[in-house]
Symmetry: D2
Subunit: 313 residues, 4 copies
């Protein structure tokens, strides 16, 4: 097992806290574990930890921090040593949010804050949330889009190649797919620390911002869940940006929406696709291949290239 | 990454080779990579190796060997050392079948032959099988049930607890779920070496055989693929044993059929469920919980407890 | 167009009114239009009338009356004349429940009360239920099983052939499929007044009751909706009797549950199947064909033959 | 029952006969019933007649004729009398193609040829096509997209209102939905003769042609069949024009492709939606409502407004 086991949670900023929280619970279908003065802690019904999304009141939007869980205390320390030796900016140990133990924080070259941690608090379902089948973390409530678990996030960076070095160095991530632009730059890169096809993607920042966020994604069990969710989003006045459709890259069936504060949120399904080969060779897409659009020909919508959070002037 | 990366392939015996081969290609939807005098080498459309199923002419049915791929040459050797030190019966190095390098063979206490290998031959799709999207191994042909990839197999053993020690010792597998009978014995045990929920299950042998086989499973992307396959099996006169339904254990949506020679074959879908927790605690099911039947109440069909291959007198 | 346009609504008795109402609204996903001292009026999100289910407090369970809507006032009167001339027991005109105009009531030979009516009150969605797309009756709320519309009901009768004459005479129904028992009796008969494959089925009463009810069914858009509903029923402690599976007869994908008072309720999907042929020949199933079980081999569960409402001593 | 029971078949012209026939059988999944020197007769697996698509060699593309089946011989004659009295151009009785009896032909004001007929030859499945369940017309072969039945077609006309009068007068069709443009013209109109939501649509001709054809559609049982078909089309190099997505009008889940000769073909799913109300009020969409795009926001692709067959110079 790698030092880093999996993406654990993501903290998003919202400048419309109440509307965002209503969206994530009632419409998107996450469950609120706990709430304090500044943040709400949320999870999908089969996320095993205290939270996979921390939603925080702020004067703007975007991502506050990205957390990966280590495979053990020893793996955590081993990874910390590598990060400290790497030269990347270190913030250091923090106490950890409700729901997990101390975390080691550091930054990528584009101002995104990462943390890694080992100790965690498993979600213990209160009686009303006890599942009929004990192998899921919480009952399937069927409320809103009701995704099963956190899947991945997508960051923006001015230099994706530099970001790739960061991910390989600090998290031991491997690249599963990437876009090679005609100008030689890497247009996008998809990373994983385990057998998922990706847990983090980074695409080129076109908006001149730093530390910006593209989207956060939860996984559904079936593609039909996404078609059904499209109707739920429609009926609830949620801005549907694009989809449902199938990505050419990674083959994921997707639907992109904007939560009330403007953070882009995806709902996705990868079917039975996994990266099982230990010596997987990254799939490299050329610029001309990308111009064909998504898998079934949908052209990428303009805002997909320009809208990130926080917005840039 | 673990020493052992994933289940690589399974060799099944058939005493009705032509009928079995016709079933696996035309009806179940696998692709024939290569065939020699005694065996056919088959794979699902997104299996990345030369084959995931070796189908071999034989005087009876059942499993001939089970192969796992190691994570590297070093991992292979490290694992071999552990197996040699374990006291389990060793067969030793063999040249390896078409499609992969040398393999180290050994046996569990119930006469099932396992092998581990590192070097492999990736499937290179001939022109007619080239996919439109380069991130899948072969075009999606949509022929028959058309599963995406090998998923898992299920063996029978007189003593599941002993089998569990073997899996932990020899493959470094971890247990994700298990059945604890009232008499103290373990009725069944589900193992994985990676983030899949399981790649091998072992259930108690009720037929007084040794080295017997319960079923082999490929994964579909969607549950709808399984409902559609049920009609295809029906129209092709395939014996449908039970399903489609959802397992209580592991929550897998399943359909069991018997290929023409009598080996039980499953088609399954796990949705977005993965074992991401590095410290996953095995889910333990009691005998009374099992008596509730499958997830939605389907009672386990009698043959499911008695039919294994090869048949016992 | 036939005199009779479609099944309009069904009135069910419950001796556990509150529990039944909670089930039908929160779990099954119907919407309450109106409620008075004795009854609740409910509909699925795309039922265009005031209600498709009237749920009435009673000392026992079963069906109170079955209502079909005529194609016009003239068609209603023409049909009334035929019923009056038929010799079947007539109750006569009644004022009509909330939601529709006067209705003409009559009985089949097995004590089931039918009514036909023309004037109806369309459902006008209050603001909170206004759909985003104006071609559905109400917003898709996605609550519980959330079926689209009323589909059919199934009655029990001691003599199905006699019941068939009643349906043909009184409603102008045509038979789309039937079961011919070896003893010459008709074991079951499926009727329609329009292009649906059936709106009412009648199967042989094995419980020595009269006027008994077998089940009521709403239709979902997709089979996946039924698989998802199975989890919702499971999580809400609803008794799942059998399914999901596919009927051999009519090919309907089904799931049977018992609402809290014991009335059997189905959720079903017929795919794109319709009866478009004006000269459709009834499909006749023999007893030996029925013994094969449902489409994919599921054996019919014992209670399916014995459980009806109200219960018989 | 109406005089006209249902859309029976459509004859399409192709100037690439072999490629079109290969597409419709191998990729789209229809079955060839019969072929002569100029035409191939095709049907979906559950179409009950000899053919639902006649594919004819021609110097160009487009629709040759549209055929509806009457409800009886008397209904046919009654309808013929109405057409003859209508003043619309009459071609008169023709012998009828293989598979059905004499047909009465007439034209709409935009040069589309219609016919109505009563006598028909039911499809008798040869042994190899016999279904396992006798209530479908042919075995479910699962080949290609494998739709269940013919659904509808879409014609182009310079004056949709005039076309509407034609449909109401000659076929007794009713309008279920329509587009009312700001300039007062009707932009599109959806018609049905039975409980299907529509069997023919007519949209405004923007290409200055006459007698032109927009698309022909078959129905699948599930939306998942359409997602799966999208991959099959992709792998077979079929031009996917737009979709999969959900129409705002009629709520149909759709996918549009061009068969090799350029005729637009759709695959669609209407879920459980039917028009059961005998007094259904047409749903009228305004121009501004149409500008919102399809149900989930997909903008209508430019070619959808311009591409028809045959092409106009």
């Amino acid at each position: 097992m790698n030092d880093i086991a999996h993406l654990g949670h993501v903290e998003l900023y919202t400048n419309q806290f109440d509307a965002s929280l209503d969206f994530f619970t009632r419409v998107y279908g996450l469950t609120l574990t706990e709430q304090d003065a500044t943040s709400a802690y949320l999870r999908a019904f089969d996320d095993y930890e205290h939270h996979s999304l921390k939603l925080t009141r702020h004067h703007t939007t975007g991502v506050a921090h990205i957390a990966y869980r280590a495979s053990s205390e020893a793996a955590l320390l081993s990874r910390v040593a590598k990060i400290e030796a790497s030269g990347y900016e270190v913030i250091g140990w923090v106490d950890g949010d409700p729901g997990h133990g101390r975390a080691f924080r550091f930054k990528d070259p584009f101002e995104h804050v990462f943390e890694i941690y080992w100790e965690t608090q498993r979600y213990h379902a209160p009686d009303v949330e006890k599942p009929a089948l004990k192998n899921i973390a919480q009952r399937y409530h069927g409320r809103g889009a009701a995704p099963r678990r956190l899947d991945h996030l997508n960051l923006l960076a001015a230099n994706v190649e530099e970001f790739q070095r960061f991910m390989e160095t600090c998290l031991g991530s491997r690249v599963t797919e990437m876009i090679q632009l005609d100008n030689g730059r890497i247009g996008g890169c998809w990373f994983t620390v385990n057998n998922k096809t990706y847990d983090l993607a980074c695409t080129e920042e076109h908006g001149a911002g730093t530390g910006r966020f593209h989207h956060l994604t939860y996984a559904t069990d079936q593609r039909e869940d996404i078609l059904r969710a499209a109707d739920i989003f429609l009926e609830n006045g949620v801005h549907i940006e694009t989809g449902p459709h199938k990505h050419a890259i990674q083959g994921t069936f997707f639907l992109y929406i904007w939560e009330p504060a403007g953070n882009r949120i995806e709902l996705a399904n990868s079917g039975a696709r996994l990266i099982l080969a230990p010596d997987w060779e990254p799939v490299v897409w050329t610029e001309s291949e990308r111009k064909k659009g998504q898998a079934w020909g949908l052209k990428t919508i303009e805002t997909f290239h320009t809208h990130g959070t926080p917005p840039v002037e």
